[in-house]
């Protein structure tokens, strides 16, 4: 409560992007897909399609209303909400704009 | 400064293996193998040492697994799938 946060390092108003860096960070792309339906492709030839609700720096991903599809096209689900381990994620693509 | 967060001393999964020390556990391993034995020790990689252990190897063409007994065995953590206490 009483902590008045006088950390000198945050006084610089946090704007490091003033040098107009045009690079788009990969995680920003994922962040823009939050709330949208995405397809997550795994290294194991499986894929998961569902609404992206969150992720972390390891790209562990929280999905809603998920369908799992294996390499032969068999589907499983829908699963209401799941945390997908980032360890085997190869690619995440948004299926709507 | 006394309590920064209401950190309710959440037990981590590995803490729960500690309760199995000196007890008989079943360790499911990669490659359709299981190992049952008394847990002597383990580390954060799930490397473990079991005593009076029996290894069960499941082959596709036979129902009953083949059993192999060992006095003391070291299991490398990367092949561990799950660990469960067995009532004995």
């Amino acid at each position: 409560m009483a902590e008045v946060a006088t950390n000198p390092s945050v006084d610089v108003t946090g704007k490091q992007e003033e040098v107009t860096i045009s690079t788009v960070l990969p995680l920003e792309i994922i962040d823009k897909s939050i709330g949208k339906v995405v397809t997550v492709l795994l290294t194991t030839d499986k894929e998961f399609t569902g609404k992206l609700v969150g992720f972390d720096d390891f790209v562990n991903v929280v999905l809603e209303d998920v369908t799992e599809t294996d390499s032969e096209g068999n589907t499983d689900g829908p699963v209401k909400i799941m945390l997908l381990n980032g360890g085997q994620i190869a690619m995440i693509s948004s299926t709507e704009d | 400064m006394a309590d920064v967060q209401p950190q309710q001393k959440q037990e981590e999964p590995l803490d729960l293996i500690r309760y199995q020390l000196d007890e008989t556990v079943l360790v499911k391993l990669r490659g359709a193998r299981e190992m049952k034995g008394k847990l002597q020790g383990y580390d954060s990689h799930c490397n473990m040492v079991l005593s009076d252990a029996t290894e069960y190897i499941y082959a596709e063409n036979q129902d009953k697994p083949q059993g192999k007994s060992t006095d003391m065995v070291f299991i490398r953590g990367d092949s561990v799938i799950l660990i469960s206490p067995v009532a004995e």
């Binding site: 609700v53 209401k80 945390l83 | 037990e11 999964p13 990669r30 799938i81 799950l82």
Partner: protein, 83 residues
């Protein structure tokens, strides 16, 4: 901590999700296709998991194997979902 907050209203990041499902009935699917359904006792950053009253499912069907307590090593975990 405050750089990315564009969609914060509908965001559930993994740690929020996990703390919300501790104590509930979950299904954990492993990379080898086997699933475990039980009560989630505890989980850590490696996705090491401890569950109790756990049943094993192979190919969607109960294998008949039940575990009182079970520790699952995180590297085998494909996903964890609330059931």
């Amino acid at each position: 901590m405050s750089e990315v907050s564009s969609n914060s209203s509908i965001k559930t990041d993994p740690s929020t999700f996990l703390s919300g499902i501790i104590g509930s009935k979950v299904s954990v699917k492993l990379n080898n296709g086997v699933s475990y359904v039980g009560n989630l006792q505890s989980i850590d950053g490696f996705m090491n998991i401890v569950m109790d009253t756990t049943a094993e499912f192979i190919g969607g069907a109960a294998s008949g194997t039940k575990y009182g307590d079970v520790f699952i090593r995180g590297n085998n975990v494909l996903y964890i979902s609330k059931v």
